[in-house]
Symmetry: C2
Subunit: 193 residues, 2 copies
DNA sequence: ATCATAACATACTTATCGGTATAATATACT
DNA sequence: AGTATATTATACCGATAAGTATGTTATGAT
């Protein structure tokens, strides 16, 4: 039965993700969304629900995409240290190259919505926990292979690297001098020894 | 000549700071501002300019207040290490105790406005640079007194602590388990040795 | 006491906000 | 072919956004 949808839900959601990522929840209007997604207002409501539900779907899409991205960066290297270096330096390069520094959609949401909306407090927290688990696995791999010989707890170290990555990502938004960032990255990476 | 202002500009600005700090720029309406500041709309415009100029004034007030707060925490201790511990643990306690976790107004602005408004990119960057300088002074004091004997560059170390503090402050918005934060703080503070 | 001036409270303007009612259109099933 | 149903585009809704015009009130200078 019935007429079928003319747009691809996943492509539309990706477009929504891009604009929410760039502008945040409040600063993005439904007109922004319709023009970027290439569909009309009622199509958004029927496919995704209201503005906030669409935002949640976009953020969920982002976190899965981001998780697998991070995992890939850490796994596609034989050296764990090099994996983390690639990850951290990637954030830095991205920050300096893009004209508008979007940063990390999840971190942006942690700042904008988590304090006022429990759903996003949980969603963003869980993503950070997941990243921490990915980091921990990588560190434990390095310990087993003998590449790392730190006496620090792998979990605690992973958590610290998550905190550092958040700090770097956020600080990049103010476009500080490269030396500031480079200095920090070097010291953070010395934790992996 | 002429009628004199019935409200205290500084008190009104403080009220504006509180609400902007709590809700951010976009989510704060002029009605929010008038009710919290206790003055009428035209009074805001005549005393502070438009919504964004008021925001800028509020942020400037915050950064000076915040800088001196941080400086005090680091200086009112004989031990530099204890000073940093007080600072970091203060952020953590604040985050868990407040019902709405406002975090740091400057960091919030770095995320919300810096990527889209050069004025705030500069303003927020300069505040972080200033904090870094305060941190560096404290570290150098510790080196001179013999309390610290790190072989790391004091400036680079200060910059790393700024990055870590940003990361902690932001992550607190998702209210992670205490152990996550405590682990991180301990490892970050081991950089000071 | 009068006058010039600026702060005040009220009420308004224009634009845009998020969200929806409506009617036309297209498709799958009988 | 006809019918039921969901999608589409258009146009609209009330509410609220930021910002301002207006007339009243208070004060310092003459």
């Amino acid at each position: 039965m019935v007429r079928q949808r003319e747009f691809d839900v996943d492509i539309a959601l990706d477009a929504a993700m891009q604009i929410y990522w760039e502008k945040g929840f409040e600063a993005t209007s439904l007109s922004d969304l319709t023009s970027r997604m290439g569909i009309q207002r009622p199509s958004i409501y029927s496919a995704f629900g209201d503005k906030k539900e669409l935002f949640e779907a976009a953020l969920r899409k982002y976190t899965t995409y981001h998780s697998s991205n991070v995992r890939a960066k850490l796994q596609n290297r034989s050296s764990v240290k090099e994996g983390f270096r690639t990850l951290f330096e990637g954030i830095v390069e991205e920050g300096y190259s893009e004209s508008c520094n979007r940063g990390c959609f999840c971190i942006n949401t942690m700042v904008e919505l988590a304090p006022h909306d429990e759903k996003f407090e949980i969603l963003t927290r869980e993503h950070q926990m997941y990243l921490s688990a990915i980091f921990q696995e990588a560190i434990e791999r390095g310990l087993r292979s003998g590449e790392l010989e730190t006496d620090m707890n792998a979990k605690a170290l992973a958590q610290t690297l998550v905190v550092s990555l958040i700090g770097l990502t956020v600080l990049m938004k103010s476009r500080p001098e490269r030396s500031f960032i480079n200095n920090s990255v070097e010291i953070i990476l010395t934790l992996l020894k």
